[in-house]
């Protein structure tokens, strides 16, 4: 590989100059690193916002009875918590990581479409400002759950639903533009010699994710447009009284929604596939099978959507098809877990903060996968469906899954971004507090669900009291631990502990060949990959 990248970047800085000063730098920037930074800070702000809503929910559920909020407001909190975490925290965080890392990993000077990149970010603050403003409107914000099933979200919705529809449209446009950028960059701007099967796995998983986004975001846009028509223009897509079908909404929503779930986990697989080999000092086991497994999961994600709808009264043949196809997902997902563990097996392991979060990811994501396999069994799903068992399941794959991988990625690449090392001691504190908090919050929810507690209720019968109290305590522990993360990142930015170009002994890839911090412009001349 080329060793002239540092010179190349110094040269290019001479041509393009340093970043502009002040606010306009961030408003007008077309630089992938700036935009990546904007995405990451924005997603962290949304993570804290959605987190506060989670804490409102957990405070209300601390004890039976209504104490802090009324059911109307409780429903707005569950709805906005879900929407903000999915569209505001997890997805923009992955787009931010893609912006920062994909050009560095494929040896490109920037994303392929830098102006569109600026637009796709700057839509988001407006979309979420509008979504949050619904809380102040007459009748309150959206209160129909993040899945917004019709007709609760159409005929029976508060007037603010129109603003909700518009803001989701904006989020969708932003995601599609981000995805097009990833595809264009990955397919066109790889360094000479970097064939598809030599691409780093983060790039592979993001490429596949981008295709999922392009495929399903228009379906979401379609379904919310149909809602808009039903609400304002007298159509009856989802109203049986006019010849429509409320279940059609669910089919369309989940045809978007299930691939969406994988959109939030495939890039995580990529990040973990970088961190585990680095700290095992051993090549990733089964690179090719990782790529094929990712592609299989993406394909399967399109043919399993109705497993979210086992109780809507599907015909028997439909139930069986979606049960079998869903069970099948366990196979490629299993391959990934086995590969990570084989990578660690007989390696030379060390446990810096990124590796701790990666190991936490593997164990807890796998537990989330197990409960997913249980949910796939349709007859058993009649008992699990819409209970806290489902809440436990998807929080295990999303919190210690997607979010742990984002945190792990941040710790892994912070030295490259800031040029400074992270405080390892505080990083360890962050990890242990998070992992205890996350399990204390979500593990008891399995028991609550099996014992019969439905999800999305503001008050509950007395037999559910004890585990709810534990979950609430865990929620506060986890939530406040994330403020420590904020402190660690700020401390790292201000630190004087200079990071080497390659801070991790076992790391591989083009991103470690540029200086730390990565110069404003990198790879103006492409490196050569053997």
């Amino acid at each position: 590989m080329s060793h002239s990248s540092a010179q190349a970047s110094a040269h290019s800085e001479h041509e393009h100059g340093q970043p502009a000063k002040g606010l306009t730098r961030w408003l007008y920037t077309t630089n992938h690193k700036d935009i990546g930074t904007l995405y990451l800070w924005f997603s962290f702000a949304m993570f804290l916002t959605g987190g506060c809503m989670a804490l409102v929910i957990r405070s209300e559920l601390f004890q039976p009875g209504l104490q802090l909020v009324q059911p109307e407001f409780f429903n707005q909190m569950t709805t906005l918590h879900g929407l903000i975490m999915v569209f505001g925290a997890v997805m923009p965080a992955f787009v931010g990581l893609a912006n920062w890392m994909i050009p560095l990993m494929v040896g490109a000077p920037d994303m392929a479409l830098p102006r569109m990149n600026n637009l796709s970010f700057w839509i988001l603050p407006f979309a979420f400002a509008m979504l949050l403003s619904t809380l102040l409107m007459e009748g309150g914000g959206p209160n129909f759950g993040w899945t917004f099933y019709a007709p609760l979200s159409t005929t029976y919705a508060p007037p603010s639903v129109t603003f909700f529809i518009f803001s989701v449209h904006m989020m969708g446009i932003s995601s599609i533009m981000g995805a097009i950028n990833v595809v264009a960059t990955t397919l066109n701007m790889r360094a000479p010699g970097m064939t598809m099967m030599k691409m780093p796995l983060f790039v592979w998983t993001w490429l596949i994710t981008a295709f999922l986004l392009i495929a399903v975001m228009p379906v979401l846009a379609g379904v919310i447009t149909m809602m808009l028509m039903d609400i304002h223009f007298g159509t009856s897509f989802f109203n049986a009284g006019g010849g429509g079908d409320p279940v059609l909404f669910q089919h369309l929503f989940w045809f978007f929604g299930h691939p969406e779930v994988y959109i939030m986990i495939l890039p995580a697989f990529g990040i973990i596939s970088h961190i585990v080999p680095t700290f095992s000092r051993k090549r990733l086991f089964g690179y090719a099978s990782m790529v094929y497994a990712t592609a299989s999961i993406a394909f399967l994600s399109f043919i399993v959507w109705a497993h979210h709808m086992f109780t809507v009264g599907l015909p028997l043949a439909g139930e069986l098809f979606f049960m079998y196809s869903t069970m099948l997902i366990a196979v490629p997902t299993g391959v990934k877990v086995f590969n990570w563990i084989s990578t660690m097996f007989r390696g030379s392991l060390s446990f810096e903060t990124p590796m701790l979060f990666a190991i936490g990811f593997i164990v807890l994501f796998t537990i989330g996968g197990f409960s997913g396999l249980m949910l796939a069994i349709a007859p058993a799903d009649f008992q699990y469906h819409d209970t806290y068992f489902v809440v436990a399941h998807f929080h295990y794959v999303l919190v210690p899954g997607a979010i742990f991988s984002i945190i792990a990625g941040a710790y892994y690449w912070l030295p490259k971004w800031t040029g400074h090392m992270v405080d390892e001691r505080l990083g360890r504190w962050h990890f242990w507090l998070s992992i205890i908090g996350v399990n204390l919050t979500f593990f008891p929810m399995h028991f609550l669900g099996l014992a019969g507690m439905p999800r999305r209720i503001p008050d509950y019968a007395l037999q559910f009291a004890d585990f709810n109290m534990i979950a609430s305590i865990g929620g506060f522990l986890f939530g406040f631990s994330q403020l420590l993360f904020l402190y660690i990142v700020i401390k790292c930015i201000r630190s004087t502990d200079q990071a080497p170009d390659k801070p991790w002994e076992g790391a591989e890839g083009l991103e470690w060949q540029v200086p730390s911090p990565a110069p404003y412009h990198t790879f103006s001349t492409p490196p050569k990959v053997d």
């Binding site: 601390f62 004890q63 009875g65 209504l66 059911p71 109307e72 007459e138 009748g139 309150g140 759950g145 099933y149 609760l152 005929t155 029976y156 508060p158 007037p159 049986a240 009284g241 279940v247 051993k282 086991f285 089964g286 099978s289 109780t311 809507v312 028997l316 139930e319 366990a330 196979v331 299993g334 877990v337 086995f338 563990i341 990578t343 660690m344 097996f345 007989r346 390696g347 030379s348 392991l349 060390s350 190991i359 796998t366 537990i367 197990f370 249980m374 069994i377 349709a378 007859p379 009649f382 008992q383 469906h385 028991f447 099996l450 014992a451 019969g452 439905p454 209720i457 007395l462 004890d466």
Partner: protein
Amino acid sequence: MALLTLLLLGANNVAHSAWQLNMPEGVTQISASVYELHMIIFWICVVIGCVVFGVMFWSIFHHRKSKGAKPASFHESTTVELIWTIVPVLILIGMAVPATATLRQMYDTTASDVDIQVTGYQWKWRYRYLNENIDFFSTLTTPTEQIHNQADKSEHYLLEVDNPLVLPVGKKIRFLTTSNDVIHSWWVPDFAVKKDAIPGFINEAWTRIDTPGTYRGQCAELCGKDHGFMPIVVVALADTDYQTWVTEQQQAALSKQAAAERTWTLAELMQQGEQVYNTACAACHQANGMGIPGAFPALKGSLIATQDQAAHLDIVLFGKSGTAMAAYGTQFDAVDLASVITYERNAWGNDTGDIVTPQEIKQRLQAGQ
């Protein structure tokens, strides 16, 4: 936060609690099969988890750099990769077989002995015994003082209703679920029956209860503000007791019909009306008639409730399309409707002095919308 915790702890003492960890086995043959499937897949996960995490923690303890471990260089093995693709497939096929068998049984709704139409309303259930001509609503009875922590919570807090669904044991009971407004979901864990109630469509489910007893469940699909407050209570009786209950219900219905013919005074109507209002109307329009601004209009001092009596009858009997206001003409009998409208026209200082009689309601209903 600590202070808040103490306050909450002090606010009420939890009367009873249980550390239930697992799914109930239930009281039907289907619920037992479902429990069995749940346990099989659970143990499969436990075994796989032990193997996978076992290897992982072995590596974590023995292959540490700090212990001087040198990394091996292997990075692929077609044989191993094939094995861990094929073995899970075989396990899954083994799991799919019993799951398919149970699912086929659950879908066989033929040859039922009792047919019950279950209709979800915001936020109560309506049960119609299709062959016995019995029809009633089932509403939460937990007092609001308990919900707002002004009184100690009773044993079946939030899981108690005025009229439970009464069913015979040993008979095949078919449920036809549907909804009047949004999607609800009728769920009784002890029967392993959960079926969505969808407006405009009818879903089928069935059960055959083995043991007499009281079984409790809840609405499982988010259906608006009081989703957490529409429980399901089923009382399963021996067949002879069930027959007695059916006869009683049919006689009670006859005497209710007679009540609609007699003359009612304002005081009687107000008393009856307040009860109906609190079960059917107060959830949205609030007990004090003030509604919730932006969501549900106030009745106190409103034009319809103080002046236009014909419009008042129309909106209560036929609802208002495009809003959450349902058509109550099909939900209550003439006495209840007359009394609740009379109540709304005279309570909270509306004081119109108007009396609406059951006979007027009947005439209006016959005339149609």
